[in-house]
């Protein structure tokens, strides 16, 4: 069963440098640069937090209401899934 939690794919290599993260995805050969927000999102996706929990945590950290954060966070999470950086957790 697939949960609503996401985690960094075990196949990628991520290196944090300052507030940014560079991610290499071997299956595609793609290199991605995540800014501070992208870095925070990836670090929150620990395989246990649901998408709602990630959004709530981002909202709390930014001081913005969750509804405002949700759209951008959802877009970013989708992008990272499509790029095979994040993968769903199967329970």
């Amino acid at each position: 069963m697939t949960s609503d939690a996401l985690a960094l794919s075990p196949d990628v290599i991520a290196v944090r440098t300052g507030v940014e993260t560079v991610v290499w995805v071997p299956c595609s050969g793609a290199l991605h640069l995540l800014d501070a927000v992208g870095t925070a999102v990836v670090e929150l996706c620990d395989g246990r937090r649901t998408v709602d929990a990630v959004v709530a945590e981002l909202a709390r950290a930014s001081g913005s209401p969750a509804w405002r954060v949700r759209k951008e966070a959802s877009r970013l999470l989708q992008e990272l899934r499509r790029a095979a950086v994040l993968v769903p957790i199967v329970t």
């Binding site: 290599i13 290196v15 440098t17 300052g18 940014e20 560079v22 290499w24 071997p26 290199l31 995540l34």
Partner: protein
């Protein structure tokens, strides 16, 4: 026909000799490879160049295996140099290998990381002319355990687009060998300036992503550590083979570097801009 045996030479961990049956080719090979001369003969491979003659193609062999054949001597010479660079990278996987030029001052290196045709060789020639020690124009090897650069001081390979701005570096090839320098100049750093080849242990301190744009004003913009790491990784040889090691090693190196994107259409301005940011 007698063969000259040239060497031994070393490109990082690639050790080799070159045998050649043409006096003209031998002279130019010897002149070009002189910066790679070494004393270590262990584990050396052997290139053989059989020059083209009337009715027969010339051949390039490595340890008895045919690499290339052609009726054009200049192409044999070019293929030899290309294969040396390829083998240097292939044999030296213990290092983090960047497609980058590098020069140093007092052990602090500026690394010019960019794809082909971005002006790396021209820029490093300008820096050497300005007094910096030459490390390489092609492959910057970083020891991942120490962070020091291991020099690969091959002759600078200068393309026709830079012959005007580097006219003073036109190589003095032997009479009869002009065709070997018709498509590209091979210029040992010692021909730019006495003592130009660096003998100082150096670490990267400035990372530059250069871009030549004809007529452009020179601009140097700071890169974030992430932007610099991304740019350098895109120019890392064999990243898919050495993955985590190279990424973490480079991230560690960049922690101690100032990183810039350089856009310029004027060599002297570009050199001045880099000399200002290189720590003294």
């Amino acid at each position: 026909m007698t063969r000259s045996v040239l060497g031994p030479y070393a490109g990082l961990r690639w050790h080799f000799f070159v045998e050649c049956d043409s006096d003209v080719l031998s002279a130019e090979v010897g002149r070009t490879l002189a910066p790679l001369a070494c004393s270590d003969t262990s584990g050396s491979s052997s290139y053989v160049i059989e020059a083209p003659s009337q009715g027969s193609e010339g051949r390039l062999l490595l340890d008895g295996r045919l690499l290339y054949k052609t009726r054009k001597e200049a192409l044999l010479f070019a293929r030899l140099l290309w294969h040396i660079n390829l083998s240097t990278v292939s044999a030296s996987q213990e290092y983090v290998l960047l497609h980058a030029a590098a020069a140093e001052r007092h052990g602090r290196a500026v690394v010019l990381s960019a794809p082909m045709e971005a002006g790396k060789t021209t820029l490093v020639a300008g820096l050497v002319r300005a007094g910096l020690g030459y490390l390489t124009d092609e492959t910057t090897a970083v020891d991942p355990s120490s962070g020091f650069i291991v020099p690969y001081p091959k002759a600078l390979s200068i393309d026709p687009g830079s012959w005007t701005v580097l006219a003073d570096l036109k190589p003095a090839v032997q009479s009869g060998a002009e065709h070997l320098a018709a498509a590209q100049w091979q210029v040992p750093a010692a021909d730019i300036r006495d003592g130009a080849v660096s003998t100082t242990r150096s670490r990267p301190r400035v990372i530059v992503v250069p871009r030549y744009v004809a007529g452009a004003r020179t601009s140097l913009e700071s890169l974030t550590p992430g932007e610099a790491l991304l740019a350098v990784l895109q120019q890392t040889f064999n990243l898919d083979r050495n993955r985590a090691r190279d990424m973490h090693a480079l991230a560690g190196v960049l922690e101690h570097c100032a990183c810039y994107r350089l856009t310029s259409g004027q060599l002297s301005e570009a050199v001045d801009a880099l000399l200002e940011v290189l720590p003294s």
